[in-house]
Protein backbone atom coordinates (compact mmCIF):
# COMPACT_ATOMS: atom_id res chain seq x y z
CA UNK A 1 0.00 0.00 0.00
CA UNK A 2 1.38 3.38 -1.01
CA UNK A 3 1.17 6.25 1.43
CA UNK A 4 0.91 9.51 -0.42
CA UNK A 5 1.47 12.91 1.17
CA UNK A 6 -1.20 15.27 -0.10
CA UNK A 7 0.32 18.79 0.09
CA UNK A 8 -2.93 19.99 1.70
CA UNK A 9 -3.98 17.08 3.96
CA UNK A 10 -0.79 15.23 4.81
CA UNK A 11 -0.07 11.53 4.50
CA UNK A 12 -3.04 9.38 3.45
CA UNK A 13 -3.52 5.89 2.06
CA UNK A 14 -3.35 5.24 -1.67
CA UNK A 15 -7.06 4.34 -1.65
CA UNK A 16 -7.97 8.04 -1.44
CA UNK A 17 -6.09 9.04 -4.58
CA UNK A 18 -6.47 8.79 -8.33
CA UNK A 19 -3.62 8.99 -10.80
CA UNK A 20 -3.43 11.68 -13.45
CA UNK A 21 -0.39 10.85 -15.57
CA UNK A 22 2.83 12.58 -16.58
CA UNK A 23 2.96 16.13 -15.17
CA UNK A 24 5.72 17.33 -17.49
CA UNK A 25 3.54 17.20 -20.59
CA UNK A 26 2.86 20.75 -21.79
CA UNK A 27 -0.07 21.75 -23.97
CA UNK A 28 1.07 23.70 -27.05
CA UNK A 29 0.63 27.42 -26.46
CA UNK A 30 -2.61 29.05 -27.45
CA UNK A 31 -2.72 31.80 -30.10
CA UNK A 32 0.15 30.21 -31.98
CA UNK A 33 0.32 28.04 -35.07
CA UNK A 34 0.53 24.42 -33.81
CA UNK A 35 1.93 21.76 -36.12
CA UNK A 36 0.30 18.32 -36.26
CA UNK A 37 3.44 16.82 -34.82
CA UNK A 38 3.45 19.14 -31.80
CA UNK A 39 -0.17 18.26 -31.15
CA UNK A 40 0.39 14.48 -31.54
CA UNK A 41 3.33 14.66 -29.18
CA UNK A 42 1.26 16.48 -26.60
CA UNK A 43 -1.68 14.07 -26.85
CA UNK A 44 0.02 10.68 -27.27
CA UNK A 45 3.78 10.61 -26.82
CA UNK A 46 5.32 10.12 -23.37
CA UNK A 47 8.90 9.86 -22.09
CA UNK A 48 7.84 6.97 -19.86
CA UNK A 49 11.04 6.90 -17.78
CA UNK A 50 12.25 4.11 -15.53
CA UNK A 51 13.23 6.06 -12.42
CA UNK A 52 12.04 9.43 -11.19
CA UNK A 53 8.77 10.57 -12.73
CA UNK A 54 6.94 13.82 -12.09
CA UNK A 55 3.24 13.02 -12.20
CA UNK A 56 -0.22 14.29 -11.37
CA UNK A 57 -2.34 12.82 -8.59
CA UNK A 58 -5.85 13.74 -7.51
CA UNK A 59 -6.92 13.49 -3.87
CA UNK A 60 -10.29 12.40 -5.15
CA UNK A 61 -11.68 10.91 -1.93
CA UNK A 62 -10.21 13.68 0.20
CA UNK A 63 -9.80 17.39 -0.45
CA UNK A 64 -10.26 16.83 -4.23
CA UNK A 65 -7.17 18.88 -5.04
CA UNK A 66 -4.82 17.97 -7.86
CA UNK A 67 -1.11 18.01 -7.04
CA UNK A 68 2.26 16.84 -8.38
CA UNK A 69 4.32 13.95 -7.03
CA UNK A 70 7.87 12.96 -7.77
CA UNK A 71 7.88 9.18 -7.67
CA UNK A 72 10.29 6.46 -8.71
CA UNK A 73 8.63 4.17 -11.27
CA UNK A 74 11.09 1.34 -10.60
CA UNK A 75 10.69 1.22 -6.81
CA UNK A 76 7.36 3.06 -6.27
CA UNK A 77 9.12 5.31 -3.73
CA UNK A 78 7.37 8.69 -3.48
CA UNK A 79 10.17 11.18 -3.12
CA UNK A 80 8.16 14.37 -2.68
CA UNK A 81 4.84 16.01 -3.47
CA UNK A 82 4.17 19.56 -4.60
CA UNK A 83 1.33 21.96 -5.21
CA UNK A 84 0.44 22.39 -8.87
CA UNK A 85 1.75 25.95 -8.87
CA UNK A 86 5.20 24.91 -7.61
CA UNK A 87 7.75 25.09 -10.38
CA UNK A 88 9.87 21.99 -9.86
CA UNK A 89 11.15 21.47 -13.43
CA UNK A 90 11.12 17.87 -14.60
CA UNK A 91 11.60 14.89 -12.36
CA UNK A 92 15.25 14.03 -12.81
Amino acid sequence: MLEIKCPYCGKRSQNEFAYGGDATVKRPELNKEVSDQEWDTFVYYRKNPRGNHLELWHHISGCRQWFKAKRNTATHEIIDTFELSDDVGDAS
Binding site: M1, L2, S13, Q14, N15, A18, Y19, G20, G21, D22, D36, Q37, D40, T41, V43, Y44, Y45, R46, K47, N48, P49, R50, H53, E55, H58, R71, T73, A74, T75, H76
Partner: protein, 418 residues
Protein backbone atom coordinates in the same frame (compact mmCIF):
# COMPACT_ATOMS: atom_id res chain seq x y z
CA UNK B 1 15.60 -32.38 -32.77
CA UNK B 2 14.18 -35.65 -31.57
CA UNK B 3 10.40 -35.58 -31.83
CA UNK B 4 8.35 -35.83 -28.68
CA UNK B 5 5.84 -38.67 -28.92
CA UNK B 6 4.22 -41.38 -26.84
CA UNK B 7 6.95 -43.70 -28.13
CA UNK B 8 9.77 -41.37 -27.01
CA UNK B 9 8.11 -41.07 -23.61
CA UNK B 10 8.06 -44.85 -23.17
CA UNK B 11 11.60 -45.22 -24.52
CA UNK B 12 12.96 -42.61 -22.12
CA UNK B 13 11.13 -44.18 -19.21
CA UNK B 14 13.54 -47.13 -19.50
CA UNK B 15 16.45 -44.80 -18.76
CA UNK B 16 14.56 -43.07 -15.93
CA UNK B 17 14.16 -39.93 -18.06
CA UNK B 18 17.85 -39.10 -17.67
CA UNK B 19 18.68 -39.02 -21.39
CA UNK B 20 16.29 -36.49 -22.88
CA UNK B 21 17.96 -34.03 -25.26
CA UNK B 22 18.16 -30.43 -24.06
CA UNK B 23 15.23 -28.55 -25.57
CA UNK B 24 17.41 -25.69 -26.83
CA UNK B 25 21.12 -24.91 -26.91
CA UNK B 26 22.93 -22.23 -24.91
CA UNK B 27 25.16 -20.78 -27.65
CA UNK B 28 27.77 -18.03 -27.45
CA UNK B 29 26.75 -15.00 -29.55
CA UNK B 30 28.29 -14.90 -33.03
CA UNK B 31 29.81 -11.67 -34.32
CA UNK B 32 27.09 -11.14 -36.93
CA UNK B 33 23.49 -12.18 -37.61
CA UNK B 34 21.10 -11.48 -40.43
CA UNK B 35 18.33 -10.57 -37.98
CA UNK B 36 18.46 -9.93 -34.24
CA UNK B 37 15.31 -10.14 -32.16
CA UNK B 38 15.56 -8.32 -28.85
CA UNK B 39 13.40 -9.94 -26.19
CA UNK B 40 12.99 -13.67 -25.57
CA UNK B 41 9.34 -13.58 -24.61
CA UNK B 42 6.50 -15.22 -26.48
CA UNK B 43 6.41 -12.68 -29.31
CA UNK B 44 10.19 -12.63 -29.79
CA UNK B 45 10.45 -16.42 -29.82
CA UNK B 46 7.47 -16.73 -32.18
CA UNK B 47 8.93 -14.08 -34.50
CA UNK B 48 12.26 -15.93 -34.71
CA UNK B 49 10.45 -19.24 -35.25
CA UNK B 50 8.40 -17.91 -38.18
CA UNK B 51 11.39 -16.03 -39.65
CA UNK B 52 13.15 -19.38 -39.87
CA UNK B 53 10.16 -21.51 -40.80
CA UNK B 54 8.13 -19.34 -43.18
CA UNK B 55 10.76 -16.98 -44.53
CA UNK B 56 13.80 -19.24 -44.41
CA UNK B 57 15.90 -16.69 -42.52
CA UNK B 58 17.82 -18.88 -40.12
CA UNK B 59 20.82 -16.75 -39.20
CA UNK B 60 18.85 -15.20 -36.36
CA UNK B 61 19.62 -14.47 -32.72
CA UNK B 62 17.24 -13.76 -29.87
CA UNK B 63 18.84 -11.60 -27.20
CA UNK B 64 17.19 -11.92 -23.79
CA UNK B 65 18.25 -9.86 -20.79
CA UNK B 66 17.03 -12.45 -18.28
CA UNK B 67 15.77 -15.90 -19.15
CA UNK B 68 13.19 -16.88 -21.74
CA UNK B 69 9.67 -17.00 -20.45
CA UNK B 70 10.52 -14.91 -17.38
CA UNK B 71 8.62 -11.82 -18.46
CA UNK B 72 5.02 -11.33 -19.49
CA UNK B 73 4.71 -14.68 -21.29
CA UNK B 74 5.08 -16.28 -17.87
CA UNK B 75 2.96 -13.68 -16.05
CA UNK B 76 -0.29 -13.55 -18.00
CA UNK B 77 -3.61 -15.26 -17.32
CA UNK B 78 -3.36 -17.48 -20.46
CA UNK B 79 -6.60 -16.37 -22.11
CA UNK B 80 -7.20 -16.78 -25.86
CA UNK B 81 -10.00 -14.90 -27.58
CA UNK B 82 -10.90 -12.79 -30.60
CA UNK B 83 -14.11 -11.19 -29.33
CA UNK B 84 -13.47 -7.67 -30.58
CA UNK B 85 -15.69 -5.30 -32.53
CA UNK B 86 -13.41 -3.48 -34.96
CA UNK B 87 -12.47 -5.31 -38.15
CA UNK B 88 -8.75 -4.71 -37.67
CA UNK B 89 -8.79 -6.47 -34.30
CA UNK B 90 -11.26 -9.17 -35.36
CA UNK B 91 -9.26 -10.24 -38.40
CA UNK B 92 -5.89 -10.07 -36.66
CA UNK B 93 -6.83 -11.98 -33.51
CA UNK B 94 -9.00 -14.50 -35.36
CA UNK B 95 -6.03 -15.43 -37.54
CA UNK B 96 -4.24 -15.98 -34.24
CA UNK B 97 -7.07 -18.23 -33.02
CA UNK B 98 -6.71 -20.34 -36.16
CA UNK B 99 -2.99 -20.69 -35.46
CA UNK B 100 -3.62 -21.75 -31.84
CA UNK B 101 -5.69 -24.70 -33.06
CA UNK B 102 -2.68 -26.38 -34.66
CA UNK B 103 0.09 -24.95 -32.53
CA UNK B 104 0.82 -28.08 -30.50
CA UNK B 105 1.19 -30.08 -33.72
CA UNK B 106 3.21 -27.36 -35.43
CA UNK B 107 5.66 -27.11 -32.53
CA UNK B 108 5.57 -30.81 -31.56
CA UNK B 109 5.03 -29.44 -28.06
CA UNK B 110 1.83 -29.67 -26.06
CA UNK B 111 0.74 -26.09 -25.39
CA UNK B 112 -2.36 -27.45 -23.64
CA UNK B 113 -4.69 -25.49 -25.92
CA UNK B 114 -8.11 -25.59 -24.30
CA UNK B 115 -10.99 -23.99 -26.27
CA UNK B 116 -13.28 -23.91 -23.27
CA UNK B 117 -15.12 -20.75 -24.33
CA UNK B 118 -15.03 -17.21 -23.01
CA UNK B 119 -18.12 -15.59 -21.53
CA UNK B 120 -18.42 -11.80 -21.14
CA UNK B 121 -21.25 -11.08 -18.72
CA UNK B 122 -23.68 -8.20 -19.22
CA UNK B 123 -25.37 -6.46 -16.29
CA UNK B 124 -27.76 -4.04 -17.99
CA UNK B 125 -29.97 -3.74 -21.09
CA UNK B 126 -27.53 -1.23 -22.54
CA UNK B 127 -24.70 -3.67 -22.14
CA UNK B 128 -26.76 -6.42 -23.80
CA UNK B 129 -27.26 -4.07 -26.77
CA UNK B 130 -23.55 -3.34 -26.93
CA UNK B 131 -22.70 -7.05 -26.77
CA UNK B 132 -25.25 -7.85 -29.45
CA UNK B 133 -23.60 -5.28 -31.71
CA UNK B 134 -20.13 -6.66 -30.95
CA UNK B 135 -21.34 -10.23 -31.49
CA UNK B 136 -22.79 -9.27 -34.88
CA UNK B 137 -19.51 -7.65 -35.82
CA UNK B 138 -17.68 -10.84 -34.87
CA UNK B 139 -20.05 -13.04 -36.87
CA UNK B 140 -19.67 -10.80 -39.93
CA UNK B 141 -15.96 -11.55 -39.69
CA UNK B 142 -16.55 -15.29 -39.40
CA UNK B 143 -16.00 -15.57 -35.64
CA UNK B 144 -18.28 -17.66 -33.47
CA UNK B 145 -20.32 -15.49 -31.12
CA UNK B 146 -23.49 -16.26 -29.19
CA UNK B 147 -25.66 -13.83 -27.28
CA UNK B 148 -26.83 -15.61 -24.14
CA UNK B 149 -29.56 -14.64 -21.70
CA UNK B 150 -29.85 -14.97 -17.97
CA UNK B 151 -31.38 -18.44 -18.10
CA UNK B 152 -28.58 -19.70 -20.39
CA UNK B 153 -25.96 -18.25 -18.06
CA UNK B 154 -27.61 -19.93 -15.06
CA UNK B 155 -27.01 -23.29 -16.69
CA UNK B 156 -23.39 -22.49 -17.47
CA UNK B 157 -22.32 -20.97 -14.16
CA UNK B 158 -24.95 -21.94 -11.59
CA UNK B 159 -22.83 -20.71 -8.67
CA UNK B 160 -22.84 -17.03 -9.72
CA UNK B 161 -24.95 -14.58 -7.73
CA UNK B 162 -28.53 -14.63 -9.08
CA UNK B 163 -30.14 -13.38 -5.88
CA UNK B 164 -32.70 -10.56 -5.87
CA UNK B 165 -30.50 -8.18 -3.89
CA UNK B 166 -27.51 -8.56 -6.22
CA UNK B 167 -25.98 -5.12 -6.96
CA UNK B 168 -25.13 -6.01 -10.59
CA UNK B 169 -27.60 -8.70 -11.69
CA UNK B 170 -26.61 -10.83 -14.67
CA UNK B 171 -28.75 -9.93 -17.69
CA UNK B 172 -26.90 -12.19 -20.12
CA UNK B 173 -23.62 -12.30 -21.90
CA UNK B 174 -21.61 -12.69 -25.07
CA UNK B 175 -20.06 -16.12 -25.50
CA UNK B 176 -17.23 -17.05 -27.83
CA UNK B 177 -17.11 -20.88 -27.74
CA UNK B 178 -13.72 -21.06 -29.48
CA UNK B 179 -12.08 -18.82 -26.87
CA UNK B 180 -10.18 -20.46 -24.08
CA UNK B 181 -6.75 -20.88 -22.58
CA UNK B 182 -3.32 -22.35 -23.30
CA UNK B 183 -0.39 -23.10 -21.02
CA UNK B 184 1.75 -19.96 -21.25
CA UNK B 185 5.12 -21.46 -20.29
CA UNK B 186 4.66 -24.26 -22.81
CA UNK B 187 4.10 -21.66 -25.52
CA UNK B 188 7.44 -20.01 -24.71
CA UNK B 189 9.26 -23.35 -24.42
CA UNK B 190 7.65 -24.79 -27.54
CA UNK B 191 8.58 -21.79 -29.68
CA UNK B 192 12.09 -21.77 -28.17
CA UNK B 193 12.61 -25.44 -28.97
CA UNK B 194 11.17 -25.02 -32.46
CA UNK B 195 13.25 -21.93 -33.25
CA UNK B 196 16.43 -23.49 -31.87
CA UNK B 197 15.86 -26.55 -34.03
CA UNK B 198 15.68 -24.33 -37.11
CA UNK B 199 19.05 -22.78 -36.24
CA UNK B 200 18.06 -19.71 -34.24
CA UNK B 201 20.51 -18.81 -31.45
CA UNK B 202 18.70 -18.11 -28.17
CA UNK B 203 21.11 -16.03 -26.11
CA UNK B 204 20.00 -15.53 -22.54
CA UNK B 205 21.51 -13.23 -19.90
CA UNK B 206 22.43 -10.83 -22.68
CA UNK B 207 21.31 -7.25 -22.12
CA UNK B 208 21.23 -4.78 -25.01
CA UNK B 209 23.02 -1.62 -23.87
CA UNK B 210 23.06 0.38 -27.11
CA UNK B 211 22.58 0.46 -30.86
CA UNK B 212 24.96 1.19 -33.72
CA UNK B 213 23.13 3.37 -36.21
CA UNK B 214 24.85 4.98 -39.19
CA UNK B 215 23.14 7.28 -41.71
CA UNK B 216 19.76 6.21 -40.38
CA UNK B 217 20.57 2.52 -40.87
CA UNK B 218 20.96 -0.18 -38.23
CA UNK B 219 24.52 -1.54 -38.13
CA UNK B 220 24.48 -3.58 -34.95
CA UNK B 221 23.82 -3.76 -31.23
CA UNK B 222 26.00 -3.34 -28.16
CA UNK B 223 25.28 -5.92 -25.50
CA UNK B 224 26.56 -7.04 -22.14
CA UNK B 225 28.18 -9.93 -24.05
CA UNK B 226 29.89 -7.85 -26.72
CA UNK B 227 28.99 -6.05 -29.92
CA UNK B 228 27.04 -7.91 -32.59
CA UNK B 229 26.64 -6.77 -36.19
CA UNK B 230 23.30 -6.95 -37.94
CA UNK B 231 21.25 -5.06 -40.52
CA UNK B 232 17.84 -5.81 -39.02
CA UNK B 233 16.61 -5.61 -35.45
CA UNK B 234 13.16 -6.55 -34.20
CA UNK B 235 12.19 -5.02 -30.87
CA UNK B 236 9.89 -7.35 -28.88
CA UNK B 237 10.43 -6.13 -25.34
CA UNK B 238 6.91 -5.27 -24.16
CA UNK B 239 7.17 -3.15 -21.01
CA UNK B 240 10.79 -2.17 -21.69
CA UNK B 241 10.08 -0.75 -25.17
CA UNK B 242 10.37 2.91 -24.11
CA UNK B 243 13.71 2.23 -22.41
CA UNK B 244 15.29 0.76 -25.55
CA UNK B 245 13.61 3.36 -27.77
CA UNK B 246 15.20 6.07 -25.63
CA UNK B 247 18.63 4.71 -26.60
CA UNK B 248 17.58 5.40 -30.21
CA UNK B 249 16.30 8.91 -29.34
CA UNK B 250 12.75 7.76 -30.01
CA UNK B 251 9.71 8.61 -27.92
CA UNK B 252 6.67 6.37 -28.28
CA UNK B 253 2.94 6.62 -27.55
CA UNK B 254 3.40 4.14 -24.72
CA UNK B 255 3.32 4.12 -20.94
CA UNK B 256 4.55 1.24 -18.77
CA UNK B 257 2.01 0.11 -16.19
CA UNK B 258 1.94 -2.77 -13.75
CA UNK B 259 -0.90 -5.31 -14.10
CA UNK B 260 -1.40 -7.84 -11.36
CA UNK B 261 -2.95 -11.28 -11.37
CA UNK B 262 -3.43 -13.91 -8.70
CA UNK B 263 -4.38 -17.53 -8.16
CA UNK B 264 -6.36 -19.10 -5.36
CA UNK B 265 -5.55 -22.36 -3.66
CA UNK B 266 -6.45 -25.32 -5.90
CA UNK B 267 -9.98 -26.68 -5.70
CA UNK B 268 -11.98 -29.36 -7.48
CA UNK B 269 -13.30 -28.51 -10.98
CA UNK B 270 -15.75 -25.62 -10.63
CA UNK B 271 -15.50 -23.27 -13.57
CA UNK B 272 -15.51 -24.68 -17.11
CA UNK B 273 -15.17 -21.41 -19.06
CA UNK B 274 -13.27 -18.16 -18.88
CA UNK B 275 -15.71 -15.67 -17.36
CA UNK B 276 -15.46 -11.89 -17.26
CA UNK B 277 -17.49 -9.65 -14.96
CA UNK B 278 -19.15 -6.89 -16.98
CA UNK B 279 -19.74 -4.28 -14.29
CA UNK B 280 -16.09 -3.80 -13.48
CA UNK B 281 -12.86 -5.41 -14.51
CA UNK B 282 -12.53 -8.95 -13.21
CA UNK B 283 -11.92 -12.18 -15.09
CA UNK B 284 -11.50 -15.71 -13.95
CA UNK B 285 -10.71 -19.19 -15.22
CA UNK B 286 -9.65 -22.40 -13.54
CA UNK B 287 -6.25 -23.89 -14.26
CA UNK B 288 -5.66 -27.60 -14.76
CA UNK B 289 -4.15 -27.67 -11.27
CA UNK B 290 -7.47 -26.38 -9.92
CA UNK B 291 -6.37 -22.87 -9.02
CA UNK B 292 -8.77 -20.06 -9.83
CA UNK B 293 -6.74 -17.70 -12.05
CA UNK B 294 -7.95 -14.15 -11.60
CA UNK B 295 -7.06 -10.69 -12.82
CA UNK B 296 -8.47 -7.26 -13.47
CA UNK B 297 -7.37 -3.65 -13.49
CA UNK B 298 -3.98 -2.06 -13.80
CA UNK B 299 -2.64 -0.57 -10.60
CA UNK B 300 -3.07 2.67 -12.50
CA UNK B 301 0.25 4.49 -12.23
CA UNK B 302 3.39 4.31 -14.36
CA UNK B 303 5.54 1.44 -13.12
CA UNK B 304 8.47 -0.75 -14.10
CA UNK B 305 8.38 -2.67 -10.81
CA UNK B 306 6.81 -6.05 -11.82
CA UNK B 307 4.92 -5.93 -8.55
CA UNK B 308 1.87 -4.03 -7.47
CA UNK B 309 -0.03 -3.02 -4.39
CA UNK B 310 -2.74 -4.64 -2.33
CA UNK B 311 -5.58 -2.14 -2.97
CA UNK B 312 -5.84 -3.26 -6.62
CA UNK B 313 -5.95 -6.93 -5.67
CA UNK B 314 -8.62 -6.15 -3.06
CA UNK B 315 -10.62 -4.15 -5.59
CA UNK B 316 -10.45 -6.90 -8.22
CA UNK B 317 -11.33 -9.67 -5.77
CA UNK B 318 -14.24 -7.64 -4.38
CA UNK B 319 -15.69 -7.73 -7.88
CA UNK B 320 -14.90 -11.43 -8.04
CA UNK B 321 -16.81 -12.12 -4.85
CA UNK B 322 -19.72 -9.96 -6.07
CA UNK B 323 -19.95 -12.27 -9.09
CA UNK B 324 -19.08 -15.60 -7.44
CA UNK B 325 -19.88 -15.36 -3.70
CA UNK B 326 -18.31 -18.78 -3.08
CA UNK B 327 -14.86 -17.37 -3.94
CA UNK B 328 -14.89 -15.55 -0.60
CA UNK B 329 -13.91 -18.75 1.21
CA UNK B 330 -10.82 -19.38 -0.89
CA UNK B 331 -7.32 -18.37 0.14
CA UNK B 332 -5.10 -16.58 -2.35
CA UNK B 333 -2.05 -18.66 -3.10
CA UNK B 334 0.07 -16.07 -4.84
CA UNK B 335 -0.06 -12.74 -6.65
CA UNK B 336 2.36 -11.28 -9.16
CA UNK B 337 2.71 -8.36 -11.53
CA UNK B 338 3.93 -7.76 -15.06
CA UNK B 339 4.77 -4.58 -16.91
CA UNK B 340 2.29 -3.75 -19.66
CA UNK B 341 3.34 -1.64 -22.62
CA UNK B 342 0.10 0.37 -22.64
CA UNK B 343 -0.37 2.11 -25.98
CA UNK B 344 -2.48 5.24 -26.09
CA UNK B 345 -5.38 3.62 -27.99
CA UNK B 346 -5.15 0.17 -26.34
CA UNK B 347 -4.05 -1.48 -29.59
CA UNK B 348 -0.63 -2.87 -30.51
CA UNK B 349 2.00 -1.45 -32.84
CA UNK B 350 3.73 -3.77 -35.34
CA UNK B 351 5.62 -1.69 -37.84
CA UNK B 352 8.81 -0.48 -39.48
CA UNK B 353 10.34 2.70 -38.10
CA UNK B 354 12.07 5.76 -39.52
CA UNK B 355 15.38 3.96 -38.84
CA UNK B 356 16.20 1.58 -41.69
CA UNK B 357 16.33 -1.97 -40.29
CA UNK B 358 14.59 -1.24 -36.99
CA UNK B 359 11.23 -2.93 -36.51
CA UNK B 360 8.82 -2.36 -33.66
CA UNK B 361 6.48 -4.81 -31.92
CA UNK B 362 4.91 -3.27 -28.83
CA UNK B 363 1.84 -1.72 -27.24
CA UNK B 364 0.17 -5.00 -26.31
CA UNK B 365 -1.59 -3.60 -23.26
CA UNK B 366 -3.54 -6.32 -21.40
CA UNK B 367 -3.73 -8.70 -24.33
CA UNK B 368 -0.41 -9.82 -25.74
CA UNK B 369 -0.53 -13.52 -24.90
CA UNK B 370 -3.41 -14.52 -27.19
CA UNK B 371 -1.67 -12.75 -30.07
CA UNK B 372 1.63 -14.61 -29.67
CA UNK B 373 1.42 -16.74 -32.85
CA UNK B 374 -0.12 -14.11 -35.13
CA UNK B 375 2.13 -11.37 -33.78
CA UNK B 376 5.16 -13.58 -34.47
CA UNK B 377 3.96 -14.39 -37.98
CA UNK B 378 3.10 -10.83 -39.02
CA UNK B 379 6.21 -9.36 -37.38
CA UNK B 380 8.40 -11.95 -39.10
CA UNK B 381 6.72 -10.97 -42.38
CA UNK B 382 7.33 -7.28 -41.69
CA UNK B 383 11.02 -7.92 -40.95
CA UNK B 384 11.65 -10.38 -43.79
CA UNK B 385 9.88 -8.42 -46.53
CA UNK B 386 10.49 -4.94 -45.08
CA UNK B 387 6.77 -4.24 -45.44
CA UNK B 388 3.77 -4.78 -43.21
CA UNK B 389 1.52 -7.84 -43.61
CA UNK B 390 -2.10 -7.00 -44.47
CA UNK B 391 -3.14 -8.16 -41.00
CA UNK B 392 -0.85 -5.71 -39.18
CA UNK B 393 -1.28 -2.90 -41.70
CA UNK B 394 -3.82 -1.17 -39.39
CA UNK B 395 -1.40 -1.43 -36.44
CA UNK B 396 1.15 1.05 -37.74
CA UNK B 397 2.87 3.65 -35.61
CA UNK B 398 1.77 6.56 -37.78
CA UNK B 399 -1.89 6.03 -36.85
CA UNK B 400 -1.28 8.36 -33.90
CA UNK B 401 -0.45 11.01 -36.49
CA UNK B 402 -3.06 10.25 -39.13
CA UNK B 403 -5.87 9.76 -36.63
CA UNK B 404 -6.68 6.16 -37.61
CA UNK B 405 -6.72 4.99 -34.01
CA UNK B 406 -8.02 1.54 -33.11
CA UNK B 407 -9.61 2.68 -29.90
CA UNK B 408 -11.64 -0.45 -29.26
CA UNK B 409 -12.27 0.47 -25.62
CA UNK B 410 -11.44 4.14 -25.91
CA UNK B 411 -9.35 4.33 -22.75
CA UNK B 412 -5.72 3.58 -23.62
CA UNK B 413 -3.44 4.27 -20.69
CA UNK B 414 -5.99 6.50 -19.05
CA UNK B 415 -7.51 3.91 -16.79
CA UNK B 416 -8.56 6.60 -14.35
CA UNK B 417 -11.31 7.72 -16.74
CA UNK B 418 -12.70 4.21 -17.23
Amino acid sequence: MKKYSAFSLIKNAFSYHQNWDVAWRDPEPKSEYEVIIIGGGGHGLATAFYLAKKFNIRNVAILEKGWIGGGNVGRNTTILRSNYMYNANNLFYEEGMKMWRNLSQELNYNVMYSPRGILNLAHSDAQMNAYSRRGNSMRLNGIDAQLLYREDIKKMIPFADYSSNCRFPIFGGLFQPSGGTARHDAVAWGYARGADDLGVDIIQNCEVTGFDVNNGKIQGVQTSRGNIKTKKIGLCVAGSTSLLAEKLNMTLPIEAHVLQACVSEPIKPLLDQVVTFGAGHFYCSQSDKGEMVMGGDLDGYNSYAQRGNLPTIQHVLTEGVALFPNLSRLKILRTWGGIMDMSMDTSPIIDKTHIDGLYLNCGWCYGGFKATPVSGLTFAHTIAKDEVHELNAPFRLDRFHTGHLIDEKGIGTKTWIS
